[in-house]
Symmetry: C2
Subunit: 506 residues, 2 copies
């Protein structure tokens, strides 16, 4: 397999822009080419998510090469939800590794600030499970429910959780203040964090990455440069919340990382800094655990202890991350690699405590459904020869049928929940969403009838309404009545007056 | 570069379906895997166009592997408008050629019959140029204008043109009648063809491929099988009608074919049959010319002479083509290869006149904006070693700015036109559309104020209305008045009464 090197990189300023998506992509492209020793490219790979609904225009690959004056150059778009940029990079890697192309341009871009939050939230939510969307679930809602599960599993008090999340938000905003391309170049205070409004409990505005326009570009080449892509790994995971085994980690990241580490012949301890997909502050904590930097449940403590700060032992998101650099979804996977390259080349300020020669970028598609890990290192640091680890081959089965019709499962316990304050179009805020474990052990995703009395473990009633489940928390009175009914059932004759049904044995 | 072989293939019945897109993809996938010697795959590449707007759901790659029971397997979506299936196949080819994966599954699928024609037409039109869409242009409208240009360039009378187009429609419907997976399994008569309604003059309903649901799948492998992918080629082209040099060919197909022929070490004369992207009957004619099967302007004659029929010397679309097999846009590029494989393996009926060992599939994205050519042959036929021809590298330039503001170009001639009878949402039918060559030589795409008196070469007035150009054909009286004015201008004093402007030299 041909070794794949990194040449030039480029990116636009992230934030609100009046440029079109094509213009943003062209700017990142010309910057990436201009900073390369490679003056010309043979193909273009573009990561973009749902540009049709966000911009009203399709055929983005052909449109972009034409606008770049590269008419005729093969171009295609790659999409894996919010990790589309990383997917384009990995696809381009394989094209160069095969020897079919020698120099290719990878682009990622997104344009969405011309929509209001409600409209953008609805379109972004199309990447999550259909049934959960019918309840009004959004990406922040599901991330919030993951956060609540994490809090419960690792026995964090609400205030401890918020102190940790706040610490990550503060760190990433501080880092972003140094980044000329970041959307927010302003450090925030603890007071700012705690004053910010709820998006979906327990996540506040400052826990969520913003709505952003922007584009980033990278040139990959078969010609030797100072930086090599030494490991790549991809893995998919479940779409829905209710059909996953873990609510406090993303196995897709763990497996993608394992593949990338094996290919590069390194381990998490060999990484000097990382760009982690912090679409939500919780995702950064979980990401650092899934990547093997910290044990499960300890990512938050590590961040709170300053280990992941710019001057820490393992800086995470020294660029400011998605949180403060901004998150133009299709661009983020490429932008992470742009930041990694800049820092490895010593072009990013302020400098880290130690000389970094090997770094990692991790990108998440949807709710951990399509994740990528990329390892980049200085050529002189590369451990040769690396051994390619093939993912295990798998045999498909006939797909499961649609959501099973509602069964007589009308009671359960709240596994996790959120109160959503920024709802998708057509849903009134605030909106309670819960993941219910029924008595039969099945997980149901349901809309709450009330936002009061929610707590993991609480007993609830569930019912099927039209096309989704609805739940309500059992009151004390209902519990007493139930206990009484149960007691009565144990009495001789079941405690129930036998009704004469009028039936007679013939 | 690792040689890439074809293992199993599968496809759903094409047509109207009550299955979801994911279900269709799963069916094609399980059929393709089941017919392979390869029981397991390491990655999945999916060609799909705008599934978000057509089905309301994104993240199709993760959703599909999860539904297939392949959770964890790397999967991504590739998109290049209507050639998305072919793009997925070429991307997967590079992934296997690189040695990164050994066995991969390629899928293409589309679900759109649940929309009415007007809604589907609007969404499909997003792949064409924005400015031309503002006029109400659709894919059939632009294909019709290409057809009108072709007719004029090669001096075909309207009746000769229609006899040729009819012949192609009849041939493809006859071929489709043999294909168990085709949407239309019924031969049509000349009478049916001429009775079918106008979609956009000079194209009738039977000149256009239908709205279709369906999916197709192919397994690519590094393990030797009976069939090898011996050549692949891709090339992009201009999006708009007005910014292209040729209105009677698609240079992107010509270059993609050249690349594929060079890689396979063969020429058009070595191809035994071909699946050509006949989204419109005209596209099949142009395709056979661009692929080098027939000289420019002679593709129609060849078809009319029966050369491309099942029992002809070079059968084109023996499967029925997009015309009668149906055109689920993202699936078509994969379905063409499925058909090619079946026929090369002798599994397709009726048999061709001669034993076919090498075939070609050609797929078109949008209006010839992103085209692919794939050559498949029996392993024993392969000419070794083939030399890889790299496309010439190109340097990008800063993109051109948006559509230039309307200039004082108010007169020109009709280059080509159509009257559109199936209009996108929000446009009344019939709608005249014209490509105008102004006196200054620039091409403008404009909406007609009237559907009468349209003919290539006709003189027109053009004006800028809000966001698009509008044109009207000059009447005889206007021409006489203009000639008179011109004559008067030649007289001493310009023939114009000098107006006293009240200005005085100071």
């Amino acid at each position: 397999m041909q070794t794949v090197y990194l040449a030039g990189v480029g990116m636009t300023k992230f934030g609100k822009s009046t440029s079109t998506l094509t213009e943003l992509l062209c700017q990142a492209a010309t910057d990436a080419i201009a900073s390369s020793q490679i003056p010309a490219v043979e193909a273009v790979f573009i990561g973009a998510m749902n540009c049709e609904e966000f911009t009203g225009a399709g055929n983005i690959a052909a449109a972009t090469v034409e606008a770049l004056g590269l008419a005729g150059v093969p171009a295609l778009r790659v999409e894996t939800a919010s990790s589309a940029g990383a997917a384009a990079l990995h696809t381009a890697f394989q094209a160069v590794a095969s020897g079919y192309y020698r120099h290719v341009l990878v682009l990622g871009g997104h344009k969405m600030t011309h929509h209001n939050t409600s409209a953008a939230t609805r379109v972004l939510a199309e990447v999550i499970d259909y049934q959960e969307r019918l309840c009004g679930a959004t990406m922040p809602a599901l991330a919030a429910m993951i956060t609540e599960s994490y809090r419960k599993k690792y026995r964090l008090s609400p205030s401890r959780l918020h102190n940790i999340l706040c610490r990550i938000a503060l760190k990433n905003h501080l880092n972003g203040a140094y980044n000329a391309n970041a959307q927010f170049r302003k450090a925030i205070s603890e007071k700012d964090y705690f004053a910010s409004k709820w998006v979906a409990t327990p996540l506040r505005l400052f826990d969520c990455s913003p709505i952003t326009d922007g584009a980033a570009g990278v040139v990959l080449t078969a010609e030797k440069t100072d930086l090599v892509v030494s490991g790549i790994g991809q893995c998919t995971g479940p779409m829905s919340l209710r059909q996953r085994e873990s609510f406090t980690s993303f196995p897709a990241t763990q497996i993608a990382a394992k593949r990338a580490y094996l290919m590069a012949g390194v381990g998490p301890e060999d990484i000097h800094f990382a760009e982690v997909h912090d679409a939500f502050t919780t995702f950064e904590i979980i990401g650092t655990e899934d990547l093997g930097f910290f044990p499960a449940g300890k990512g938050g403590d590590a961040a709170a202890a300053g280990k992941t700060a710019l001057d820490g032992e393992l800086p995470i998101n020294p660029s400011g991350g998605l949180k403060s650099r901004g998150h133009p979804v299709g661009a983020s996977g490429v932008a992470q690699v742009v930041e990694v390259v800049k820092r490895l080349r010593g072009e990013a300020r302020p400098q880290l405590k130690r000389d970094a020669t090997r770094a990692l970028a991790q990108s998440t598609g949807g709710l951990g459904a399509n994740n990528f890990v990329t390892i980049v290192e200085r050529v002189e640091q590369r451990r040769a020869p690396h051994k390619l680890s093939l993912p295990p081959a798998q045999t498909p089965r006939r797909p499961a049928t649609k959501e099973p019709p509602p069964r007589a499962e009308n009671e359960g316990r709240l596994e996790t929940f959120t109160v959503l304050y920024v709802t998708p179009d057509g849903f009134l805020a605030p909106l309670a969403l819960g993941l219910i474990r029924t008595r039969q052990g099945r997980l149901l995703f349901a809309r709450g009838e009330d936002i009061e009395h929610l707590k993991p473990g609480r007993e609830v009633y569930v019912r099927w309404v039209d096309s989704y489940y609805s739940f309500t928390v059992k009151s004390q009175l209902q519990k007493v009545a139930e206990a009484l009914a149960k007691f009565l059932r144990r009495l001789p004759g079941g405690g129930v007056l036998k009704k004469n049904t009028g039936e007679k044995k013939l």
